[in-house]
């Protein structure tokens, strides 16, 4: 009987060795560990054996059974491993095929630049004040110290409406008067963003509508040195910590003294290139101390209050930053342009 079991074991293990697929393994299991398997029969027959043989045969039969079970488990594990390896090998993908993006929306580049500018000014205590786009001649010019027939009016060609007193604002500056009249005599720190209009032909360099963002600070002890320090701080935040700036004299009717802020051209580092028109500098911002007449028109006594104002064009800045040479892209809304931002 012992021999029988030895043989049984030997044969079963030999067969198991030959198994290479799950199906065969299942069959093997039925044959050798199933209900009618030989080992089972031997175990069942133990009680029919003479009592002195029972323990030895029973032990041996159990031993063989558990041996086969172990071998089966090991084989099953091995086969599963092989199977996994094979299916992994079959599941290899072409990782270079493009991903399947969900539709993605973006914010218009002008809005993006405007947000960035507004965020920086907000940190310096300048809050957004929105002002109207259709204005009176008085707010757009008269109250800003552009008297009728003044040469400064040449600098800005306006769109007039059929009411001769009503124009499309040529700059965000009329908002200065509006916010001052609303807040006087409180000190002010605001930025005034929004669309402006000029009567021009639409070309790669000039547009009939463009955004501006203008800043205004009015207080008791605001100086030109503060203007310089504040704008330089902005330039560093916006263009980078190491940006070189330059203040130079300029002219706007509603500020005096007036200054232009240039930054060193980031394309050529000041060597001169087409972007900076060979000057090495980029004009970024117009600014100045609020003209006493404008303060007065806003309801502030210029002998007590002083202030500064500044303005810049988000489209122009966006163009400089990204090397865009045609301003018409902004309102043409070709998705091939907009989707690059």
């Amino acid at each position: 009987m012992q021999e029988h079991l030895d043989k049984l074991e030997e044969q079963a293990l030999a067969e198991l060795n030959q198994v290479s697929e799950a199906e065969e393994l299942r069959n093997w299991k039925v044959r050798h560990l199933g209900r009618s398997a030989e080992v089972g029969k031997v175990l069942e027959g133990v009680r029919d054996l003479p009592s002195e043989d029972r323990p030895a045969v029973g032990r041996r039969a159990n031993e063989v059974k558990s041996q086969l079970e172990n071998a089966y488990a090991a084989k099953e594990e091995a086969l599963r491993g092989q199977e996994l390896e094979r299916s992994i090998a079959e599941e290899k993908l072409d990782v270079t095929l493009p991903g399947l993006s969900p539709a993605r929306g973006r914010i218009h580049p002008s809005t993006q630049t405007m947000r960035q500018i507004i965020r920086i000014w907000a940190e310096m205590g300048f809050q957004v004040y929105r002002s109207r786009e259709v204005e009176t001649d008085e707010y757009n010019f008269g109250l800003l110290n552009f008297p009728p027939h003044h040469p400064a009016r040449d600098m800005q060609d306006s769109f007039y409406t059929t009411d001769p007193e009503v124009i499309l604002r040529t700059h965000t500056s009329p908002g200065q008067i509006r916010v001052m009249r609303e807040r006087a005599p409180e000190p002010i720190r605001v930025v005034l963003p929004g669309m402006c209009y000029r009567h021009e032909q639409i070309t790669a360099r000039s547009e009939i509508q463009f955004n501006q963002i203008e800043g205004l600070a009015v207080g008791y002890q605001i100086t030109m040195a503060d203007l310089k320090g504040t704008l330089s701080a902005f330039a560093r935040r916006f263009f980078g910590q190491d940006v070189r700036t330059r203040f130079r004299g300029s002219y706007f009717p509603f500020t005096e003294p007036s200054a232009e802020l240039d930054i060193e051209c980031f394309v050529c580092s000041g060597e001169g290139c087409t972007v900076c028109k060979r000057t090495g500098w980029l004009e970024i911002l117009g600014s100045g101390m609020v003209h006493p007449t404008v303060l007065e028109n806003g309801g502030y006594d210029p002998s007590v209050f002083s202030g500064f104002a500044f303005g810049m064009g988000p489209e122009r800045i966006t163009m400089l930053k990204h090397g865009i040479e045609d301003i018409r892209y902004f309102w043409a809304n070709d998705l091939r342009f907009l989707e690059q931002f």
Partner: protein, 840 residues
């Protein structure tokens, strides 16, 4: 304004480099936009640099000793030319030498600009500025490797009509760059410094910036002729418009071309030389800023019937006209100031002369006018007549009447020199309205308060004196008065600002320190609309929509394109008085029309477009001057829901429900609850696929499928465009300041799907609301997940399947509880809507 360095040096010694000077002037508000080198060596500058340096070895003064005929060509000559070291035979085709070709050795050699082989010069024959190098060539058998140059070839001007004939003082062999090498600064003259739009003005700024003295030109005249008294009289009828008028007379003038140095300076400054009299008036104008006018005196005498002429400045007679030098017969406005004599108008004062009394080749006596004019009146005239001139450019920016006398004196002296004429003794000068110079008072604390710098009053005074202000310090006050060449300094606090600007420019913008505002931050205000607008943009972008920004200017016809069944006649638009084109004549009222244009444009390049714009429309208000600027949101989507991919699955096209889904998403994102849609009619939309968007019964906007006729006009005839428009003013009112957040339930929900068969016309929303209401509080969520129409439910019916979430906060629901609620729902739907629970 073009400023030749050599001319500037007449009035100021410049010890710094030209590039450094350009930098200083730029910082001081005289922006040097370009440095053009005309001979001098080129260096790096912080501005645009152009031009040509003349090689001192190769381009020198030469003298032509003899002009000889060319053996093979009539239109060419050979010249015997001395370059200071040796003689050459040089070929030229210059017309100004042709006439001398048979006259033998010249009595006075002709001085020329001689370029040797290897010189780099401009190609005179090419349009524009092309550089070339002189190489040995033969022209018609004659060696021709060097040449006598024209102004164009040396970059002085675009004149290539003949070779330059230098003045006699030029020494052969002298490097030309040493003799007349120059640099031209092109300065952008802003209105506040337009008084400096002349060489003297720039010299004064230069002197002040460099801290060196200004060498003001002498205004002496070498009187030679008899007294001017009695030869002409003056009658100023409008002293407010013509505060001063000065006349001088010069006899025996010989009209001829000006000497080369005058021509060269005029050319470098951008003016064309004409003759010695006209050139003198232009030269003086460029030099000191006072325009002059030269009359042919004998013409005036003739017009006065042989008597002594009277110059009258006056307003026009009704219907009076004048023929100006540009050949135009002009109707005059009642404010146009005229210079006239007893026979009629001679010129428009300060703007342009008339043809008749103009100086010509045969002129013998010149009456020279220098006047002061009211600058606003000149501006009005220029605008009304659409006529400008070099003189008007200056007068309309304000020329101090004190300059009139200086101009005439300088003009007479120079004209005498250039024409060989003799100047009659004295001037006829009427000055009825001398401007009163304001006195401006400033203190040290003003300077500190304004500019943020510590400056002693004595220092401030010294600075202003450099610009010729008169100054007086009275203890802690500095009183200053502007010089009599400027009109731009105001009185009172405006004058203070004007003086501060001068101090800032003189102190140096680059030296002003950088400080931070010492004031406390002013009161801050909440700005919910700005934040909501920003959030709205982000929400829309997060749902796959691209923000666009369109022109606010459009036309009624363009907006009508977005309306299927009506026009825009009933819209009262803000109209432009001066549009740039027919398609942009009004301010928009229909944001969606603009956004649909964007869709149409992009459909040329792609199938799928999903865009939105946020911006104002402009609605006139009765009785108000200014319109309401009402913010709107417009959304338009068209094409596949998702971009096409290589996987080839055909995505579904966006329809009505994709649109309302976006609207729902936006409103949910803003925590606006209680949204409803009700069928609506709107000329832009499909009559059966259009809904009003309501919140708590109030209209927020409109949405739906764009009317097929409209879609076709916007390039989408076969595929639906879906769109929405909302009034942001109304929307933002519904955004709650706070919204509650519920705890996450601790007990499991029961999920159940129920399908009902109802009439096809029953809106699904009614079922959804009924289920929700009936099931409250245990039903916490109801949503449609299937719609079926067809045989299985019968004609005129539809099946709507809902998934329902039952949930209690304090316990796990039992099947019995859920069954009870379900029973109530089924009963209620059956009773109210005739809905039948559907078995699967």
């Amino acid at each position: 304004m073009k400023v030749p360095l050599s001319w500037l040096r007449d009035f100021v010694d410049i010890e710094v480099s030209i590039e450094e000077l350009a930098r200083k002037l730029t910082l001081a508000g005289l922006e040097v936009e370009e440095i053009r080198y005309v001979g001098l060596p080129i260096a790096h500058a912080e501005t645009k640099v152009t031009g040509l340096a003349w090689d001192p070895e190769k381009i020198v003064v030469g003298e032509i000793l003899e002009v000889m005929p060319h053996p093979n060509a009539d239109r060419l000559v050979l010249t015997r030319l001395n370059d200071g070291k040796q003689e050459h035979t040089v070929l030229t085709g210059a017309p100004n030498l042709l006439g001398l070709k048979d006259s033998g050795p010249l009595e006075t050699p002709i001085k020329v600009a001689y370029a040797k082989e290897g010189s780099q010069i401009y190609d005179g024959k090419q349009a524009g500025w092309e550089l070339m190098t002189l190489k040995p060539v033969k022209i018609r058998g004659v060696d021709s490797s060097s040449m006598a140059c024209s102004e164009k070839e040396l970059g002085i001007s675009d004149d290539h009509s003949g070779i330059i004939v230098l003045d006699d003082d030029a020494q052969p062999g002298t490097p030309l760059t040493d003799y007349m090498g120059d640099v031209v600064l092109d300065i952008d003259m802003l209105p506040n410094i337009a008084r400096n739009a002349n060489i003297l003005g720039v010299a004064r700024e230069t002197a002040a910036q460099l801290g060196v003295p200004l060498k003001e030109p002498p205004y002496d005249v070498s009187w030679e002729g008899p007294s001017v008294d009695g030869q002409v009289s003056l009658d100023i009828q409008e002293p407010e418009l013509n505060p001063r008028f000065v006349l001088g007379l010069i006899e025996d003038v010989n009209i001829s071309p000006s000497p080369f140095w005058v021509q060269r300076r005029l050319h470098l400054a951008g003016m064309r030389p004409i003759n010695n009299v006209v050139d003198t008036t232009n030269y003086v104008m460029l030099e000191i800023g006072q325009p002059l006018h030269a009359f042919d005196y004998d013409v005036l005498v003739e017009r006065a019937r042989g008597g002594s002429p009277t110059i009258i400045t006056r307003l026009p007679e009704p219907g009076e006209t004048i023929a100006t030098l540009d050949g135009v017969e002009r109707q005059l406005d009642d404010f146009t100031i005229l210079v006239a004599d007893t026979a009629g108008a001679l010129s428009i004062g300060g703007v342009m002369g008339g043809g008749e009394s103009e100086v010509g080749d045969s002129t013998k006596r010149v009456l020279l006018e220098g006047a002061g004019w009211d600058f606003i009146n000149i501006r009005k005239t220029v605008a009304a007549q659409k006529l400008s001139s070099e003189a008007a450019y200056r007068f309309e920016r304000g020329v101090h009447p004190a300059m009139a006398e200086r101009g005439v004196r300088r003009g007479l002296e120079m004209m005498g020199e250039l024409t060989g004429g003799s100047v009659n003794e004295g001037l006829i000068d009427k000055y009825p309205r001398p401007p009163v110079a304001p006195t401006v008072e400033i203190t040290q604390s003003d300077i500190q308060r304004w500019l943020g710098i510590e400056l002693e009053l004595t220092e401030a005074a010294a600075m202003l004196e450099r610009l010729e202000f008169s100054t007086e310090i009275d203890r802690s006050r500095l009183r200053v008065s502007p010089p009599d060449h400027r009109l731009d300094i105001g009185a009172g606090v405006v004058g203070k600002a004007d003086v501060m600007e001068e101090l800032a420019r003189l102190y140096g913008y680059d030296r002003i320190p950088e400080t931070q505002i010492a004031d406390r931050i002013p009161p801050q205000y909440s700005n919910p609309r700005l934040e909501a607008g920003s959030q709205l943009r982000d929400l829309l972008a997060s749902m796959g929509l691209q923000e666009v920004v369109t022109y606010r200017l459009t036309s009624p016809a363009r907006e009508a394109k977005a309306l299927a069944s009506q026009g825009t006649e009933d819209r009262d638009y803000i109209r432009l008085a001066n549009p740039i084109g027919e398609d942009r004549i009004v301010l928009r009222q229909d944001l969606l029309a603009s956004v649909l244009e964007v869709v149409a444009r992009n459909l040329r390049i792609r199938e799928r477009v999903a865009v939105f714009e946020i911006g104002p429309v402009f609605l006139p208000i009765k009785g108000e001057q200014l319109p309401e600027e009402s913010d709107r949101l417009a959304i338009a989507m068209r094409g596949p829901l998702n971009p096409l991919t290589w996987q080839g699955r055909e995505p579904s096209k966006m329809d009505f429900y994709d649109m309302t889904g976006v609207v729902d998403g936006v409103l949910a994102g803003l925590h606006v609850g209680n949204i409803q849609y009700e069928p609506a009619a709107h000329a832009t939309f499909h009559p059966g696929q259009c809904a009003r968007i309501l919140v708590d019964g109030r209209t927020l906007g409109i949405t739906g499928v764009v009317h097929p006729l409209v879609a076709e006009r916007f390039e989408s005839p076969d595929t639906a465009i879906v769109a929405a428009e909302m009034d942001l003013g109304a929307l933002f009112e519904w955004i709650p300041e706070r919204y509650p957040v519920r705890p996450v339930p601790a007990f499991p929900p029961v999920l159940e799907d129920l399908a009902f068969v109802v009439d096809q016309k029953t809106p699904s929303e009614r079922l959804r609301i009924l289920i929700h209401e009936t099931g409250e509080p245990l039903v916490v969520g109801v949503s449609v997940f299937d719609l079926y129409q067809g045989e299985q439910v019968g004609q005129g019916k539809k099946s709507l399947a809902f998934s329902i979430v039952y949930q209690a906060d304090d316990r796990t629901l039992t099947d019995e509880e859920v069954a009870t609620v379900r029973g109530k729902i089924v009963n209620r739907l059956e009773k109210e809507l005739g809905a039948k629970l559907r078995d699967f």
